[in-house]
């Protein structure tokens, strides 16, 4: 399994890193199309899957309908906005949880965990305040 570094693969990777966001496949597709108008959405999907499999990007299967992909592969958690569905990095320590309590769960072989904080982002709070003033 040799990973060919194609043009599309490079651009996808570059645009995701550049964004510093947690983009969905189609959000990324829109960005990539500007540099490479004939690229197909299927290619974006395929490559996001391959790149995350290779550990070059992260895959986020958290709340919301669409998967999101992460430019940052170091271990960290996320915060999810229930209004705009965007995801942000959570820069708190992962403490306590690796521990014993988790390992002993019901005979499971534990491979990791996902912590997702849920809330409303500053931008959406503002937007809501405006709306309420109008009434």
């Amino acid at each position: 399994m040799h990973l060919r570094m194609t043009n599309q693969r490079e651009i996808i990777l570059r645009e995701l890193k550049k964004s510093r966001q947690h983009l969905t496949a189609d959000e990324l597709y829109d960005r990539v199309k500007k540099d490479m108008p004939r690229i197909s959405l299927a290619t974006v999907y395929r490559n996001l899957e391959i790149l995350s499999g290779a550990g070059l990007i992260g895959k986020l299967e958290i709340s919301g309908r669409q998967k999101r992909f992460d430019y940052d592969v170091t271990e960290h958690d996320h915060i999810y906005c229930t209004v705009c569905h965007k995801v942000n990095n959570l820069d708190i320590e992962r403490q306590g949880l690796h521990a014993k309590e988790v390992k002993a769960v019901k005979g499971y072989r534990v491979t990791g965990y996902r912590l997702e904080v849920i809330g409303v982002c500053p931008a959406c709070q503002k937007r809501k305040e405006k709306k309420e003033k109008k009434k």
Copy 2:
């Protein structure tokens, strides 16, 4: 918005509670059909959405795949099997996390969090062992 307690709604609720599992809409549909063969899958979807909105059941949006619905509305976390995709309750304490660190995140208004432990369930571990013996 008056919630009518229809026959289908009652049965859906009853079957989910009875199952003591985290079922997907179509798994629940199969069970409910036994009592009410003419019920439509759309009705199951609609009611699961309504019932979880009303706080009568929980909605689990884990891992980007099918939603699962929870008979148990008390606050608790889950453990997810990466092989069979089933979900189980995690009965460890929710400690530490409600705390200050989480609240202060980047101006977000935090409403909760989701902790999802990831691993392989006992049943799937066994199944894998068997497979490897065969080789």
